[in-house]
Every structure is written in C-alpha cells, then in structure tokens.
C-alpha cells in the first residue's frame, strides 16, 4: 500500500490460535524472507491454512505477533494490510465481470484510472478477451488465473495462496504450477503457498515448512528436506522412505561413520546425516529413499562393490510405472522395502518370488531418532484420505 | 463507541424483532384481561375467566372448527394438485411449459382482493350459492401456486443422477418414483402443505368475499372488531401461538438428537 515499507520479511513471533479447547496452531516462530516462494506443507487440519489466515488478517492470533518488515500488523484489519490472498475457492465476486473483479482492490484504494493496469494484468494471465465475462462463464483454470490477477494487481508485499490449485485436474495443475512460478520470478513478490501436495510444494517453493498437528516439523529447501528429513513425519510425508529399526554398534571418530545392525544386516551411515546423536548400544531409525537402492539377483551378489550397504530379501511385488519399476521386497530388516529402479535395461529375472540383494551407497543413508513412530507421515496421509472419503 | 458501531446491526435487528413480537405479547397479556365494556382494548384486571371457558362465546368455537376443516381440505387439495404440476414442470419437457409457468406465477403476483372480487363475479354470474364449497374452491386455488413453488424448488435441487442410479439398479418407473423421487421431494411437499395450511387457516380477504353467511375464524374476529371483541379471541390466539412454537421446538430438538445419534 505505502511504498515506504515496501519490502521486508514476514515475521511470525509466537503466534498461536485456539478455538475453545482445540489448538489449531501451537506457538510458532517463522520468518519468511522477502521475495521468496515459501510453501506451508501439511495434511488437512494441520494448521497451515489458519497460519495463512493470520498473516492475511482474516483470523486474529490468540497469542503472538505478525510483522511485515518493521511494522507490527497483528491488529490491522485485512483491508489495511498490504497482503492479498488467492482463496481456495477463488472467491470471485459472482455479480461482477472479470474486469471489475480485477479492478476491485484498486478502486477500493481510490484509484480511478484503472483501465491500463487491469488490461495489463489480464494480459499477464492471458485472459484479455474474457474481461467482460462473468466468473461462472469461465473454466476452473481461468477462474484461478483471475483470482491471481485480482490479488497481484495490488502489488502486495506478500501474496498468500491457499491451496489455489486444489480444484484443478492434474495436467492443468502442473501447468499452473509453472505459470505461478514464472509470475513470482517476474514480479518478485513474496509468495506464501499453502498446500497438502508435497510434489507441488517441492516444484514451486524455494523454502518449504512442513507442518504437522499445529507445529512446524522442519523447514528448509526442498532438496534439503528430501535428503535430510529430521523426523519420520517428514521422511514419510515428503516422498517415500524405507525406515529400518537398528541398534548402534559403534560410532566412529571425527568425521567417521556409524555402524549399525538390523536383524543380522550390517549397515553404515555418516554421523553427519543423523538427526540425533547416536550412541553405541542405542537404537536408531535408519532410512534410505527407494530410488537410491540398486537391486541384483541373489546369485550375483559378488558383483556388488565393497563398502556398500547390503540387505537380502525376496521380491513380493513389482509394478511397472513407465519410467521406473517399483519393487516391494520382503527382507529380515523390514517386511516391505520399496525399491525404484529406472527402466534402462530391464532384468527379466527380477519378478515376484525372486531372491535378491539390495545395495546402496552408505552416504545415501540417514538416521532418525528411534523414539518416534515409524509410521508418522504415512498415517497422517491415510487419515486425510479417510477424511476425504467420509465427507464424500 | 467502537462496540456500538460493531453491533449496530444486531441492535437494529433486535429492535425489528421486538416490533414483530410486541403484538403477540399484547395478545397474550390481554387474554388474562377482564374488560368492562364490549371491547378488549384497555387493561382492567387480571382474570382467568376466558381461559377457563374458551368456547364461552357463541359461534367462536364453531368458526374455529370450520376454519380447521377448510384448511385441512384445502391443504390436501392444493398439495396433491400442486405437487403433480411441480413434477410435470421439472421432470418433463413439453410445449406449454412457459405458459404453465406464467399461469402458476400469476396468482402470487396479484393483490388478493383482485382474485377475491373476480371469483365473486364468477359465483354471482353462475348463480352458485356462497358457503363452505366456494371458500374451499377459492383456498385451493390460491394455495396451489405456493405448493408448486415449494415442491419445484426441492425437486430442482435434486440430483437427476439419483433417479438414473435407481433405474440402473433395476427399479422400474413406479419404483423409482416411490422409493427415490418421492422421499427426496418430501420436505418440499411438506413445506408446501404447511404453507397452504397456514395461508388457508388465516385467510381473510378472499374468504370475506366468497363466504356468504358462513363464518370462519378470521371472519368471526373481523365481525367482533365491529360488535365487540371477546377475550376468548386472545385465548385462542395465544394458545395457537404457544402450540406452534412448542411443536417447532420439539421437532427441532428431536431432529438435532437424531442427527447427533447417527453422525454423518
């Protein structure tokens, strides 16, 4: 709104939200750097939308403050905040045409000559010829672009996106993800994007905060979160992880490795990739991503290079996905190890029932605190799916 | 000051509500009055006489019974005829649809007195004796449109795929109608019936024109406004009000319980 305070980070300091006895968001500190594309990722009901609404001013936090740059905006009503929202349902005004929807914010701020800006904005989202249509005459994807245009035209300091792509089909969603990313790079405004789709978060955002039950579990760049999950929730919610319960045999010296054993298998991983401090004799959850694992028939075990982590097992299921084949392997360390193999040269011997050896680079192994549930992220996903089914 | 501004709409709304409720309060209070003259407009003293003997005025309870009787028959007639029209309008494509829609809308868009006067013109010209039957005919006529509107709204909001699903699952046309369409349309039909009953029971203008010497309850009240208003009128007004509110409240509580018992 005012150019003086233009720029500045979004600072959430100890904000929380209670509804009666239910705590939607636990006290939360979060700084969203100016100009970043920030994603709040989590299953439904995790508090991500409430957090977003507190930034927008649509919800007053029970405790804590919301800051924009140096300004405390905690008690500022939404119509006085230099923040705009793209709503999940788009919330386009049904009685106004596209042009008037987009011009709405400008007009409210007393700008009378809006034509040039509105036309430009409609061109940006490629809807120039639809200016005089009503929202219900547009497709879902077009409505979504109107919602973005309506918010962006105000040049907010922060643009909030509340699951804006949820209602679109897969192909359109991919297209809009790239489109939004392009617009963000072009205008350089801070985007805060709420989503339950981990792929969407990773594709679009440069920083992702994974939320669970009203708390931020982990925050970081997508690759960092994926490669170094700090909790089982993150490990399972972002992609798929094979988690193996193991006991620590020895912890190497400076820059050394951790040796663990799980049901007879000796495994090794770098200390640096453990989210807790492993102690000899203690327990550790050892994780490895399915695509890091190679698989060979049991009788070719000798071809595996030295120093790699090895686990034997039997293929119980294989599904052909196209770019890869996904195997489920029953082994002593874990009954359902998942393995993704690129379809470069398909080995006809790798069929259900085949005895195999799995192996991977110890560097690709991560360690998690064993005191947490191995199923954290997976049950959350299953729970959310169940909710969707029940409501349908 | 801030509080006042934020709650202005609440205050204004409650003022309106008071305006709406005030006459009912007066009716109730004055049902316990013991007026000196023939008219029950000024407070004299507390008395339970009228409550002890609600039918103590000549013809009052007869008129009430007649009104109930007419309202029941009118509701039945209007609901059956109206629901049939509504189904035809929503579920079938036929040529005269536009004309039928306009014909249904017309009675609702006309001052009641115009219909009342024209019906009287018909009955006078044809030499038909005014009385029970002319009242009933008139009531069915003006209730019909409201039933059509209520049922149409409900059937329109119904997913046509439900009927297709029923047919896919081996239900014939009759079965589909009885087991799927009718149960789903039932709330609309009930709403239309309730509205008909209320409209018919409380109707005065059309009845006044077409009743001849027959006295319905509103006609009785109208007459008493000229001759003298017995306290019993207030007793009956109060009793109907309390009864209706109780029925609605009980219905709501039962509905809420049932919802709680079997969560969706």
């Amino acid at each position: 709104m005012t150019d003086k305070t233009e720029g500045g980070d979004v600072r959430l300091a100890g904000i929380s939200k209670h509804y009666g006895t239910f705590t939607a968001v636990h006290p939360l500190d979060l700084t969203i750097p100016q100009g970043s594309f920030f994603a709040l990722l989590g299953a439904s009901g995790c508090g991500k939308t409430t957090t977003l609404r507190m930034i927008a001013g649509l919800e007053e936090p029970s405790t804590g403050t919301v800051g924009l740059g140096d300004r405390d905006v905690t008690h500022l009503p939404p119509y006085k905040r230099p923040v705009n929202t793209v709503f999940q349902s788009y919330a386009l005004f049904p009685h106004m045409d596209i042009y008037e929807n987009v011009a709405f914010g400008l007009r409210r701020r007393g700008i009378t000559s809006v034509k040039k800006q509105v036309d430009e904005m409609l061109e940006l989202v490629q809807l120039g010829q639809f200016a005089r249509r009503k929202p219900h005459q547009l497709s879902g994807g077009q409505q979504q672009r109107v919602a973005v245009a309506r918010a962006l035209i105000n040049h907010p300091q922060v643009l909030l996106l509340d699951e804006p792509l949820g209602a679109l089909d897969l192909k359109l969603r991919r297209q809009m993800q790239l489109e939004l990313k392009r617009i963000q790079t072009e205008v350089g405004i801070t985007f805060v994007h709420v989503t339950h789709d981990q792929e969407e978060a990773m594709t679009m955002a440069d920083t992702v905060a994974v939320m669970n039950a009203g708390r931020v579990e982990q925050l970081g760049a997508p690759a960092e979160l994926y490669e170094n999950p700090r909790t089982t929730f993150v490990a399972n919610f972002l992609g798929t992880s094979n988690l193996i319960q193991a006991s620590v045999e020895s912890v190497g010296g400076a820059g050394g490795d951790v040796d663990v054993s799980a049901s007879g298998a000796k495994l090794r991983l770098p200390v640096a990739r453990c989210s807790t401090t492993p102690r000899a004799g203690g327990q550790l959850l050892v994780g490895v991503r399915p695509e890091k694992i190679s698989v060979v028939p049991a009788d070719e075990e000798h071809t595996i290079g030295a120093g790699r982590n090895k686990v034997t097992g039997r293929i119980v299921d294989s599904s052909f996905i196209g770019v890869s084949t996904q195997y489920v392997v029953d082994s002593a360390v874990c009954p359902e190890l998942e393995v993704y193999v690129q379809n470069i040269e398909r080995d006809g011997r790798l069929v259900p029932g085949a005895e195999v050896v799995l192996h991977w680079n110890p560097e690709h192994t991560f360690g998690l605190d064993a005191a947490q549930s191995m199923l954290a992220g997976t049950t959350a996903v299953a729970g959310a799916e169940q909710l969707v089914e029940e409501s349908a | 000051m801030q509080w006042l501004r934020r709650n202005l709409v609440v205050i204004a709304g409650l003022v309106t509500l008071a305006y709406l409720i005030l006459p009912n309060v007066v009716v109730t209070v004055f049902s316990f009055n013991n007026p000196t003259g023939r008219f029950n407009y000024a407070w004299q003293e507390f008395s339970l006489d009228a409550w002890k003997d609600p039918c103590g005025v000549a013809d009052l309870c007869d008129s009430l019974a007649l009104s109930l009787q007419i309202a029941l028959w009118a509701t039945l007639g209007a609901t059956v005829l109206g629901a049939m029209i509504a189904f035809a309008l929503v579920r079938y494509r036929f040529r005269a649809r536009g004309a039928v829609n306009s014909l249904i809308f017309m009675p609702m868009a006309m001052p009641e007195i115009v219909m009342a006067a024209s019906l009287l013109a018909l009955f006078l010209n044809m030499g038909i004796q005014l009385g029970f039957w002319t009242i009933l005919i008139a009531h069915i006529m003006f209730c019909l449109s409201f039933v059509v509107a209520a049922v149409k709204a409900r059937v329109l909001s119904m997913d046509p795929q439900l009927e297709e699903a029923a047919r896919d699952l081996y239900a014939g046309p009759a079965q589909t109608f009885l087991r799927v369409t009718l149960p789903i349309a039932a709330p609309g039909i009930a709403a239309g019936a309730l509205l008909s009953f209320a409209l018919s029971f409380d109707d005065f203008i059309i009845t006044n024109f077409n009743s001849g010497n027959t006295v319905t309850f509103p006609m009785f009240v109208w007459g008493s406004a000229q001759r003298g208003t017995p306290v019993q009128i207030n007793v009956i007004g109060t009793a109907m009000f309390v009864l209706a509110v109780l029925v609605v409240l009980v219905g709501q509580t039962v509905g809420a319980r049932r919802k709680k018992a079997q969560p969706e």
């Binding site: 649509l58 939404p78 119509y79 705009n84 929202t85 709503f87 349902s89 919330a91 005004f93 049904p94 009685h95 914010g105 409210r108 918010a151 105000n154 | 709409v9 003022v15 309106t16 509500l17 305006y19 709406l20 006459p23 009912n24 007066v26 009716v27 004055f30 407009y41 005829l81 109206g82 049939m84 035809a88 579920r91 079938y92 039928v100 829609n101 014909l103 249904i104 017309m106 868009a109 006309m110 001052p111 007195i113 115009v114 219909m115 006067a117 024209s118 013109a121 006078l124 006529m141 019909l144 409380d202 005065f204 203008i205 024109f209 309850f217 509103p218 007004g237 109907m240 009000f241 209706a244």
Partner: protein, 309 residues
C-alpha cells in the same frame, strides 16, 4: 464398444419410426398437469373474464345487469376514486420501504451474526403467523391507544410533532391516522420481507466478504459492493411480496384507520359487498391489477433480475 461401430449405432436412435415413445408416455406430463391447471383456468382465469364482462355491464341489482360495453365505468371509477388509488400506492410503497429498512438488519443478523441463536430467531420471525393476523392487528389498537404509553413516549420525544407536520398524525393521536395504517401494513408484511432476504443472504459465501476485505474494502464498502448486490434477488422478492398484497389490503385501513385513510381495497370491498355496484367494483379491481402489474414489470426490469420469475 469399438470406435468403428459407434457411428452407425449412434445414428439409430435419431430415427423415430424405429423407436417411437409410446403415446401413453408422452401424455404423462399432461395428465399430471390437467387437474391443477384446470382448477386454475376455471377458478382463476375464467373469473377474470367474468369480472371483465361485469366491468362493462350496466344496470341495477333489481333489474339485473346487461353487457352494454360501457367503458365509461372505468373513467368514472378512476375520476371518483383516484385519491384512494394514490393513497393505496403511497401507503403500500411507504410500508414496503419501511419493511426493507427494518427487515434487512434482522435478516442480516440471522444470516451472519446469530450463530447458535439462528434457529430461535427464525422461529420468532415465523411464529407470529400462527396467531391470526386479524387478532394481531387488533392488538395494535391497544398498543397505539390514545394516551397509552407508546403514544406518550412518541409525544415526549417529539416524534408526533414531526409526523403531524408531515400530515401523518393529528394532534396527540396515532390511532385512526395514516401513521397507524402504515405501521399496521409494515407490521403485517414484515415477515414476507425478512424471509426472502434471509434466504438470499444466507446463500452468500462468507469467503466473498473475506476476499473483499482482503482487497482493501472497509466493512461498509463490503456491504455496499458485495453483500447488498448479492442479496438483490431477496430484495426484489421481498419488496414484491410486500408491495403487492399491501396495495390491495383493506384490513389495516379498516381496523386502524379512519374515513380519511380509506384505501382502494376498502372501496372495492364496499362496492362489492355493501353498495353492490358490481360494474364499478369490477372496473376498480381491474385498474388495481393493471397498475400493480405495470409497476411490478417495470420494477423487475429495472432491478435486472428477470430470471427471478
């Protein structure tokens, strides 16, 4: 079904002789319509025709009436009773405006601010219906009685000075004045305003309010630009449901008014039921119908909600 087989199969049902829907089936809608439509034709349309013919008859009760195409009746009726016509439209219009003014806050309150009180408030709006409207209208005689607390209060705050200056009241009286009649009309038709208003307000997605606030609209602007325009169907329906019956009403003028507040309904009623001048009464009621229809049509066009009907 293979793609190559599809075209000839798709073409088959388009050929009627092969697959003619039975006559019985085609007649179903007409059978459903028949009784109700017949009822309306005989007891709604036909009476209009009779009334039309009555309006151009001359004669007397004793000698009988004959159709003489005496259109002068219309002119005579209009010149004699135009004050009552104008008064009816004025009273009904004022009552409609008051209903909108009073009803909107309550409908808004129930739709957006009532929370768990919503159902109770709705019941309270509908409940008065269950007491005969004549009894409730008579209650206004008590409320507005001369020297009663309401009149005294209105007098103290100077309200009656303003209304008597406007010609709505006379001296210290409210009863038997235009104010009492308008007050009664407003009261009687208020629920017909509130319910459609509530229905259309309740349908508004509250996220639209949030979106408007997010786009820099203050609460007052949110109302002006979003809430009110979106409630237009309710406003139109409510004003029609109030204005149409109010314009033809004679109960309020009879019970709460005086000879100076007679509306056109009172004239038609007494012509038909007391004076028994049927042609004049018929002409008057046709004029009323025409006036209301024209006004309503213009209004609906202006409000731009033709799809309402």
């Amino acid at each position: 079904m293979s793609a190559t087989a599809a075209p000839p199969q798709a073409a088959a049902p388009a050929e009627p002789p092969a697959h003619k829907p039975s006559a019985r089936k085609r007649l179903v809608p007409y059978w459903l319509l028949l009784p109700g439509i017949l009822w309306l034709l005989v007891f709604f349309v036909l009476p209009m025709a009779y009334q039309a013919s009555t309006s151009v008859q001359t004669g007397s009760l004793e000698e009988g009436f004959q159709v003489t195409w005496h259109f002068r009746t219309y002119w005579d009726a209009l010149t004699e009773y135009y004050p009552q016509f104008l008064r009816s439209l004025l009273y009904a219009g004022t009552a409609t405006a008051l209903c909108l003014l009073l009803g909107y806050p309550l409908a808004y309150l129930i739709a957006f601010r009532a929370g768990r009180w919503r159902n109770l408030l709705l019941i309270l709006v509908i409940a008065p219906f269950f007491t005969s409207f004549l009894i409730r209208t008579l209650a206004w005689k008590t409320i507005l009685a001369d020297g009663g607390p309401v009149v005294a209060a209105l007098n103290t705050v100077g309200f009656l000075d303003v209304t008597s200056w406007l010609g709505l009241t006379e001296g210290d009286r409210v009863l038997a004045t235009p104010l009492a009649v308008v007050c009664g009309l407003t009261y009687n038709f208020l629920p017909f305003m509130i319910l459609p208003l509530y229905t259309s307000l309740e349908r508004i997605d509250t996220r639209l309010h949030e979106a408007a606030q997010d786009l820099y609209a203050r609460p007052a602007t949110v109302f002006r630009k979003v809430t009110f325009p979106l409630s237009m169907p309710g406003v139109v329906a409510g004003t029609l449901l109030t204005f149409i019956p109010a314009s033809g009403d004679y109960v309020n003028a009879e019970l709460l008014g005086s000879a100076d507040t007679r509306m056109i309904g009172n004239v038609i009623q007494s012509q038909y039921l007391r004076i028994l001048d049927y042609p004049t009464a018929a002409a008057l009621s046709f004029i009323l119908m025409a006036v209301v229809l024209v006004m309503v049509t213009i209004y609906i066009r202006r409000a731009g909600t033709e799809d309402l009907v």
